[in-house]
Symmetry: C2
């Protein structure tokens, strides 16, 4: 674990491991009540001091935005890329469903999508965090839309429905499933409901 690459070499060497902090924070936000997870607690878990965290991330808003960015890069991007491969529409949709309800049932494992959990959190989020969530959300819907337009052109998506609405509908139902999983509902039932809801696209 090599902290950072380029050392401008001056002053006391940095010991704070940014990626480690982000890993710990991401896991914590993902698994626990975001609104009740304090910066103090995160510092304790990373074994860093509070001023250290503030120097690296400016404030809570900066940390959460960085966490979201990392989550998007590491978790969401691969799924979005899947939508660009030209596999059959139904196969891709099935993969999407599988990904959405794939749950590590081990105790303490995160359930559902962190981004959606944050979007649905009732708590006040910082400006940067909120903006980042909205941006990724819009990107996701746009990606769905392109995928559907593509499938429409290939004659694999034939339902009488605008790609715009279909994209919004898929995003909504996937979000719904994630929310149910996060709440602890039975993954089998979540999958049944999700498949039923998405069956209108056939």
């Amino acid at each position: 674990m090599g902290l950072n690459q380029n050392k401008p070499s001056r002053g006391r060497p940095k010991t704070l491991d940014r990626e480690h902090v982000l890993d710990v924070a991401m896991a914590s936000y993902w698994k626990e009540d975001i609104g009740n997870l304090s910066l103090n607690e995160i510092c304790r878990r990373c074994d860093i001091s509070k001023p250290g965290l503030y120097r690296e991330f400016l404030n809570e808003d900066g940390l959460m935005k960085a966490v979201i960015l990392k989550y998007h890069q590491e978790v969401l991007s691969p799924v979005q890329q899947m939508l660009s491969h030209d596999a059959p529409f139904q196969a891709t949709l099935d993969n999407l469903i599988l990904f959405a309800v794939s749950a590590d049932d081990s105790q303490g494992a995160p359930k559902g999508c962190l981004l959606i959990k944050m979007r649905e959190a009732q708590m006040h989020l910082g400006e940067a965090t909120r903006a980042q969530i909205d941006l990724i959300q819009e990107q996701a819907v746009a990606t769905y839309k392109k995928w559907i337009e593509c499938s429409q052109a290939k004659g694999e998506f034939t339902v009488d429905m605008t790609p715009e609405f279909a994209a919004t509908y898929i995003d909504a139902q996937l979000g719904h499933a994630s929310s149910q999983l996060a709440r602890g509902e039975d993954p089998q039932m979540v999958k049944r409901i999700l498949m039923a809801a998405l069956s209108i696209l056939k």
Copy 2:
């Protein structure tokens, strides 16, 4: 506003208006971030002292349970009763949709269902509160199920689907719509999505 009915007539007369406190608390929980609404703030809004609130409701758990109970009686019960009238299945379903997305668009008005908002809150809820939510939830699904079984017997519900699953599905989609409204999404779009999701029941 007549505080309470029966005075056992002894000791200092009570001035705390239980129903008023519940009204204020319900509106507050409904409109704002439940996890960030403190008892201190509720006391301020009701113009009562903190020990007064604790004497009446024991603790935060007791207050929230009482709020949920009142919400169920005043808001949810009428809807559940509608399901017992033997109107045509589709008409009742339409009414359900209308009720779910009926939103007062005035600023500061509550959006969505308070019970669902509480159910989806990530924060830790007290035992009594959690139990009360689960109870009402189960009652709701059971009511949906009976309604569907009834409609099935009348030949108005003919989809190949167990009433059990249909009830769960309806509950899930109504909850989803409520959650979207609470998040501030466009009621028209929420309605479109809800109608699309429930179209599989036709």
